[in-house]
Structure formats: structure tokens, C-alpha cells
């Protein structure tokens, strides 16, 4: 089923803006620039195509991970589920850098959680997320550009 990329909404959810489907073009472009030589140019259409590809990638991997969760009767898709899905779908060379990244993050967050526990007695790490509350909990990412 073909999906319109430009403008018009065939979307089932009328309220969802086109932009919410995609990661910001500036962020995507910045990452692309890290790969090509300094004098290289990247066309706007190439960046737009990359935006679409990344969203498709996220959906593809998330579906696989959430199916696994459903089979195992778990409600929450975890970071480990994502790692597993990536390996299953052929992205196994991402596994090592991701595990390192996740490990580092957990270390850092473990410290923060410990501090937060002392302050509030509230263990946010165990909580499962249903909506957009979590940006408040992760002060590392509190200043996201949206």
C-alpha cells in the first residue's frame, strides 16, 4: 500500500501532524554529514528520504520487539527487546555498540535514580511509560529540541 510522503493525510488519525511521523531533518542531516567528506553536499530530498527510512526502521524493529513481548505475555517493550529485534532482523553488528551505550546509560541513570530515590523515595526506573511524562524524569534529555 503506497503511502503519501508529501503533505496530504491519508492518515487514520486525523490529529497527527506529518512531522510527528519523522525525526527532525536537521538531526538526521547532521548525522549524515558525519559520514561524508567536509566538501560533500547532501540534497534535501536525500535527507527527506533518509527521514522516511529511519521512521520505517523504527516501526519495523518495534513491531518485531512487540510481537516477542506479546508471545511472552509481557506488556512493556524494553531496551533489551529492541536489541534482540535488531539482531533477529539482521542488524547484529549494531548489537555491541548498543549494548555498550545502554550499559553506560544504565550506569548514569543508576546514579541519578539513587539520588532521586533519596530525594523522593520514588523508584522511577521500574515504572512503565504510557504517555509523555518521562521527559521530566530524565533530566539528561529534558532539553530536547522538538
Amino acid at each position: 500500500m503506497a503511502e503519501n510522503i508529501i503533505g496530504a493525510s491519508n492518515e487514520d488519525d486525523v490529529g497527527i501532524k506529518e512531522q510527528d511521523r519523522l525525526l527532525p531533518i536537521a538531526n538526521v542531516g547532521r548525522i549524515m554529514k558525519q559520514i561524508v567528506p567536509p566538501n560533500a553536499k547532501i540534497s534535501k530530498e536525500a535527507k527527506e528520504t533518509m527521514q522516511e527510512c529511519v521512521s520505517e526502521f523504527i516501526g519495523f524493529v518495534t513491531s518485531e520487539a512487540s510481537q516477542k513481548c506479546r508471545k511472552e505475555r509481557r506488556k512493556t517493550v524494553t531496551g533489551d527487546d529492541i536489541c534482540w529485534a535488531l539482531a533477529t532482523l539482521g542488524f547484529d553488528n549494531y548489537e555491541a555498540p548498543l549494548k555498550r551505550y545502554l550499559h553506560k546509560f544504565r550506569e548514569l541513570e543508576g546514579e541519578k535514580a539513587a539520588n532521586q530515590m533519596k530525594a523522593t523515595g520514588h523508584d522511577y526506573k521500574q515504572e512503565e511509560e504510557e504517555d509523555e511524562q518521562y521527559p521530566l524524569k530524565f533530566s539528561l534529555i529534558g532539553r530536547n529540541q522538538q
Binding site: 561524508v36 528520504t49 512487540s66 506479546r70 531496551g79 553506560k104 539528561l140 532539553r143
Partner: protein
């Protein structure tokens, strides 16, 4: 504009530790299907790195095709061709062929 190449890991940089906005990643994850109900706080974090790796890999492959054509501009067609040339990116075939 701040050079993203100086990003070296979590906890560094004024723009925040992640190159991609986590809330947006989470929204995109939720759109992937009815069965995706709850997402741990870590999942978007993992994805922010995975997406970075993905973008870099696809860009690298695209660029290899760009330079064969002796231009210095990475085009949409280069991205499409890289997708078609890579089995791992078969899930993108419909996307890149529809867009033409």
C-alpha cells in the same frame, strides 16, 4: 551550528546527550502497531543510538554510489540505489520505489 562530530557519548554536550529527540522516537514507536502499548524508558534511548548507526550505514552505502557517479552531492537516488543493493534494507524497498 555545533558540529555533531564532537559528540562522544552520554552526558556530554549542551544539546543533550542524544543526537535524536527521544519523545519523537517514542511517538514513532507507538505508531508501529496496535500491540505496542507500553514502552520502557530505555527503549527510545536504545533507538536513538540504533537510528544513528542506521543513518550512518545507509549514508555510507549511498555515498559509495555517489562517488561512482563523480559528483559530490549525495542524492535521493543514491539512497534508493543503496537500499536496492543491500539485502538488509529490503524492508525499505517499497518506500524508496514509491517515492519516485
Amino acid at each position: 551550528m555545533r558540529q555533531a562530530g564532537t559528540y562522544s557519548g552520554i552526558g556530554s554536550g549542551k544539546t543533550g546527550p542524544h543526537l535524536l529527540p527521544l519523545a519523537r522516537i517514542k511517538k514513532i514507536m507507538k505508531r508501529s502497531g496496535e500491540e505496542v502499548k507500553m514502552i520502557s524508558g530505555e527503549s527510545p534511548i536504545v533507538f536513538s543510538k540504533a537510528c544513528e548507526l542506521f543513518i550512518k550505514e545507509l549514508t555510507q552505502r549511498s555515498w559509495m554510489l555517489t562517488i561512482k557517479g563523480k559528483t559530490r552531492t549525495l542524492s535521493k537516488q543514491d539512497v534508493a540505489s543503496a537500499v536496492m543493493a543491500t539485502d538488509l534494507f529490503d524492508f525499505l524497498l517499497n518506500l524508496v520505489s514509491d517515492s519516485d
